[in-house]
Amino acid sequence: MKPALSLILFTVSSGAGLGLFMLLVLVNGLGIGPAMAPGEVMAAGILALALTVVGLVSSTLHLANPRNAIKAFNRFRSSWLSREGVLSLLFFPFALAYLVGVWSGGDAPPAWAQGAGIVALLLAAATVFSTGMIYASLKPIRQWHNPLVPAGYLLMGLATGGVLLSAVRVFGGAAPGPLTALTAGLLLAGGLLKLIYYFWIGRPAGPTLNAAIGFTGRRAHLLDVGHGHGTFLTEEFGHAIGPRASLVLRTFALVAGFLVPLLLLIALGSGDASPMVLGVLVVLSAFAGVLVERWLFLVEGRHVVNLYHGAQRT
């Protein structure tokens, strides 16, 4: 599938922003680690909302006819894309209410703010889950039609959000404490999930060219594709990468996206090196890895139409 930059930026940025907000509510509400100053909560909250907005704006760049984007909220009863739009819009008023409550309440935010925070947390989780389900609901792309996809979107959103929250705490001067352990756990789970996912999609599965054209028995192959130059179908579905490039990029995504941030967080927890430098490095490494992971996720989706264009398998 075509690895559209707008979709990569959207899923990475919104995923991290919503993950950051979820962890912010959890860490601040349950008192994980040293208490957060209202300034720290505001910084993390505004960063989370900004990333989410940047992602959502980026997603509209993907549309060929953005004039009708407002109509995307119409079919939330059937379409995961519509659900994602509705849920992400509902998220903002509750998230803002939470931040206002924390800002005005100081150390003891009022109960309504806590309630708004919990609702915002649930809406953020539902939004990221919907993003994953947009891909997981597509039966013609077996690499996406997979329960690990929405789980992966949730885990990676939380992990990148945790990395950002750790960095915010480090810059706020606090020792992140148990938050680093939580984030390290999320990174470990995310990395393991991607590893399982790569093995899963590597197994031969799905229809063959013979099955696609309905001729079983004798082997079929393409004689002529019927078009002279590229079509919408080849532009949209024709992208693929070779096994060697795939292995190199998967390794990079796993190492830079999960392993290196995990080790940096352990170093941060032990408190030997300069925390500011580690805080910057962990964010840079995690985002470089997740951006490559997202590019790979898109380009490695193989649509069934490729069979009609001559591929023997997807």
Partner: protein, 236 residues
Amino acid sequence: MRLGLMIDVDNCVGCHACAVACKSWNTSGTTGPLTDYMPHGEEPSGVWFNRIRHYEVGSYPDDNTVNLPMSCFHCKDADCVTVCPTGASWKREEDGIVLVDQDKCMGCNLCAWACPYGARELDRASGTMKKCTLCVDRIYDEALPPEERLPACVIVCPTHARLFGDYDDPDSEVSRRSRERNGYVMLPELGYEPTNQYLPPRSRPAIPIDELQARRQGPSTLPERLRRWVNRAIAR
């Protein structure tokens, strides 16, 4: 009613007349124009509702050339409609035709991703998704004589490989032929329940080539060997 097309793979000669007739009619039809990108340039491309691909099944001498025209199958369980966030993609209750409302489409491509058959193509000029309408603007047009109230691709087909009819009616021509000739749908395992069916080639014995091969080897009389030597010499 469940209107759809039927393609007799045994009769189709792969001439692309259906695709050309489709483009010709629909470019000025309800979802037209079907934009062409650089039609007179070096790499012409554009929007088509119907594409024909050619396959070889088996290997010589026991092989068949299979020409497969593919357009929208107007599926019973059409995911392209389910995934559409704007409600632009819809399926008519009365006859099962799947259409795209050009005034609602935002061009997100999700319906094209959800279609395993490649039936939907984005028009870069209008930014909207376009697809086969089953010539909804022909088949109900009472200004046309009744024998012309058919999709353009069906009318034009020179080998009568294309049929149009109601699959819900057990006595319709498409239902009858489907029973007689073991009509099949493409990729039923994905669960879309396509309406359009294909009729597989009739089985017939492979063309005997023993005689041909015997003649090619030929008797080794002197004039025959001389003739073969001359042929080889000239070929060089």
